[in-house]
Structure formats: C-alpha cells, structure tokens
Point group: C2
Chain length 306, copies 2
C-alpha cells in the first residue's frame, strides 16, 4: 500500500492563498461592474460573492485539474462557475421561505440587505452566469478541448440538479422536525453538499485531461471530502459560536434538524470526520507529490474551526 | 424590394401543432419522472412545465434552425431548454416577493400549490436542467457541431442574465408605481421578453449553421417579434378578461405599472404591434418559402387573444 506524500504545510498554505487571490481576480472580471445597468442586481450579486468565502470549491477545481496536468487558464472558468453556484445556493437557502437565516459569513444575508425579490434574482443571476461562463470558449479551440468543457459543464449541471444540490435542499426542507435515519442523512448530504464538491474535483480532472484511473481515484477522494465537509459542519454547528462561524450557531438543534451529531453523537461524528479524511488522503496516494494540494485541502476541510 | 411569400395558413397551423406535440414528448424525457426521488420537486417542475404553454419559444428555435437548413434533432435540446427557462422565469416572477400572482395559464401558480420554498427550487431546477441539457452531447460530434452548441448556449446565457431576462425583471420591480418613459419601457421589455425570444431565433439559427447574412436578418426578425410580443401582452392585459388570459387581467393597471397602453394609449399600442409584425415579415422576405413557419409565428404572436 502506498502512503500519502509528506506535505510542506507552509507551502500548501501559501499556494492556497495565492489561488484564492487569483480566483477573486477572475471572479471580479467575470461579472458586470456594480455601476452597470441594472445596478441593484450587480450590487447584490457582488455583495454575496465577495463576502469572504474561503474559495474551497475553486481550489478543488484547480488542484484536481493541475494534479493531472491541466493548465490553470483552462480550469479557471469552472473554478469561477462553482463559486458562483455555491453562492447562489447559499442566497436561496437563506431565504425566509427556506432556512430563514439572517447571518452568513458574519454579514446580513442577501434578502436582509436587498429584499427577497432581489435576493431571489441575485441567486438566479449567479446560477445563470456560471453556465454562461462555461459556454464562452475562445475561437480556435480544437475538438478535445471543446468536448472536455462540455463534459465538465454536464457534470456540474448534474451536481446542481434535482438529484444533487436541489434535491438535497428539498430533502432537507422535508426532513425538518422529523426523525431521519443514518442512511437518509447520508443521502441528503451526499446530494446537498457532496455532489457539488464532487463536481469540482471531477470537473477539474476532466478539464485537466485525467485518465480513467485518475478520474476514479479523484472521485473516491471527492466522495470522502464531500461527506467529511458536512460532518464537520454539523460538529461545528453543535459546538461553535456564531462569532466563530459567521452564521447563527445551534440552528440545527433549534430546528430539530437531523445532523451527524444528533444521529451518531458528537464523538462518533468527530471520529467519522477523521476516518473520511484518512480515506481521502489514501485515495490520493497513487498521485504522490501531485496530490499535495488536494491533501492540504482535505486536511483543512476536516480541521477547520468555522 | 422582396415581399413575404404567401403562406398556407392551414399548413402552418398543422406544422406548429406537430412541433408542439414533438417538443412536449422531448420535454417529457428530458426530465426525471414524477416518482423519482425527490418526488416533490419533480412534481412541481412538471406541474408548471406541462401547464398548457403554447411552446412559442421552442417553435422559434426549430423554425429558425430549419429555415437555414438545420436538423431537428440537433435543434431539439435548445428548444427544450428555452421552454424550461421560460417556465422558470414565470415561476419566479409569480412568487409573493415578486409579482405575487395566484393564477397562471388558468391554474394556481406553483407557490400556491407547492409552497414558496419548493416553487423557488422548481425554478432553480428548470434553469439548471436547461443548461445541463445543452451540455450533454453525443460521443463523436465534430468540432463545428460542438462549437455551435457552445455558441448557442452562450447566447442563451447572455439572454437570461442580468442584462436580459433578470435585468428586465429587476427594472420591472423597480419601475412599479413610478412613471417611466417610452424609452425606458422599451429597454425594460427588450430585456425582459425580447432577449429570450431573440436567443431562441438566434440560437436556432446558430445551431442550424446560419451564414452571417442569415443570422442578421433573423436577428432583425427576432427584435421585432420580441417587442411585438410585449406590446400585445399589454394590450391584452388592458382589454382581456382573466378567463381569456388564464391569468389575472388588469393587473398592470392595478399595480400602476407602465405599459405600452399606459404610455402610448390603446390604439397607438395596437398600431405599433401591427407595424412590428410587418417589420418581422419584411425581415424574412429574403428567405422566401423557408421563412413560412417564422412568418406564421409572427402573425400568431400579434393576432393572439390570450
């Protein structure tokens, strides 16, 4: 059995910081300026997109794509698209008709600032722009590049649809206040959180020209971190403060939502997160040093405090 | 100057009826079945998508694409996508936070039947599936076909974004109860209604392999019918009954919304619609018989009673 390559933590931190800066710069140019007509919607879109997100999803796209030899420039539109989609899903999830949240990343949610109508439209706009961005390709691209772009867009479309992101949110709404079992809980989160995270990794790998075996091991990595992400979210919701999280803490319990903590208990949930982190790292082992950044992201997902 | 080819009305009616049947069959298979998990969202999506829409937008895609020699099979995904996007925009526009409409096509609106949360998600799901569908291409397509698909998707993305559909809705919300002038009114409707109708015609033409001159004349046609559509909507809202329209009549006036009727008067609005119809038909003249179906659609848009 191969073991994960040792990682220089400082180098990984610096690499992720630089990716974040670069993604932010690309997002900046991928959207109309605030002053452009109609200004309200552009203000609302930018308010949420630049609210201090950690850019984990774009980092996954870039790290997965570069791990298999992809060029950053070809990966960047997908990196921007996944962050737009993540942001759209947060804006819509926070709406009064959904989770009715007032705080997100330490700031008032979109509908609190711009009203419900504009918040709904800001989400719609981000979802639309994400796919629009993927459809924009330079003149002169050859057939394999065009095909990879379409394949990555299709993977993203599936992840965001009614068997992914949207399906998970529907199941989440329907399970509120009801006891659901461990397997339904896992299904919910594989759809609501896992599908998009998987699409980041798989989409990046597709754009990077991954071989089938590479795609398979990256998919295993993606499944593990996707679930780990949600388990850690639940642990943080049960143990963190609003100040730490930048959003209302203890909400799941107050809403009688099933979580990994309520279903399995706090310590077993923590142990599950560590096990999933190990699974993710083991999946990367065959990539050797090329998987260093993906390893660093997996560790950050599990070890984060907010 | 060339004049439009004479048209066999009965043949055009029959052709449009057959297109509608075919589009409905394709839409049926392009979406998960109602019983599929999570059933709620699939019920909601299908409730609105199969609520008796006239399928004008898919007909425009197919008619424009076939007018320049495109194959129906290659046009059909875009035909389905534009109807999904049209339906998503209706579901979101009808929400309490937006236009707060209870009736659409003679039936209770989505949020009345499924609640606001599911209605928001049903709109999101249709928007997502539209672009997902366009990203799905058969193995073996060559570079020109892949490029045309991406170009059509990009045209659709632009039409649905903040300078099109969404921008128009923002402007609509912001102009409620305020006096706006003729030029702002036209800008609003070019964005809210015209952009998507244009994307149908232009997208169909792109997929059909239109030459630049063909694309230009079809764009002129699209601009004229796009505006005509809204002018006729305003005339119908001012003069029709809820029974005829299948939606609440007289709403614009009640909401003090600027319309072509309130800004120009009823008769000038009717005259404008006829003038735009003529503009559309003239634009098609160089296509001769190949433009017959597009002519028939233009006449139906202006002469409709609901």
């Amino acid at each position: 059995m191969t073991t994960p390559a040792p990682v220089d933590e400082a180098a990984a931190s610096e690499a992720l910081r630089r990716l974040r800066v670069e993604v932010d710069r690309e997002l900046e140019t991928a959207l109309p300026a605030e002053r452009e007509w109609p200004a309200t919607i552009h203000r609302a879109v930018r308010y949420s997109l630049f609210a201090g997100g950690k850019r984990i999803r774009p980092a996954l796209v870039l790290a997965a794509g570069e791990a298999v030899g992809g060029a950053r420039q070809e990966l960047m539109p997908l990196a921007c698209a996944v962050e737009m989609i993540h942001t759209y899903s947060l804006i819509h999830d926070d709406l009064p008709a959904m989770d009715d949240d007032d705080l997100r990343r330490g700031k008032p949610t979109s509908h609190k600032v711009f009203g419900e109508a504009v918040a709904i439209l800001a989400g719609d706009a981000l979802l639309t722009r994400a796919f629009h961005l993927l459809a924009e390709v330079p003149e002169g691209w050859d057939e394999p590049r065009l095909r990879r772009r379409l394949r990555a867009a299709a993977a993203l479309g599936e992840a965001c649809g009614t068997t992914g992101l949207i399906g998970g949110q529907v199941m989440d709404l329907e399970s509120e206040g009801r006891a659901i079992g461990a397997s339904d809980l896992e299904r919910l989160h594989r759809a609501k959180t896992g599908a998009l995270l998987s699409a980041c990794v798989r989409g990046g790998a597709i754009l990077g020209g991954a071989s089938e075996p590479e795609l398979e091991l990256l998919s295993a990595y993606a499944r593990a971190i996707g679930l780990a992400f949600q388990v850690v979210d639940d642990v943080l919701d049960a143990t963190g403060s609003a100040e730490q999280l930048g959003k209302t803490a203890g909400k799941d319990q107050a809403a009688h939502k099933a979580t990994y903590v309520s279903v399995h208990g706090l310590e077993p949930a923590r142990a599950l997160a560590l096990r999933l982190r190990q699974e993710a790292l083991s999946a990367l082992a065959p990539l050797g040093g090329r998987g260093a950044l993906l390893s660093a992201i997996a560790r950050r997902i599990v070890d984060r405090r907010s």
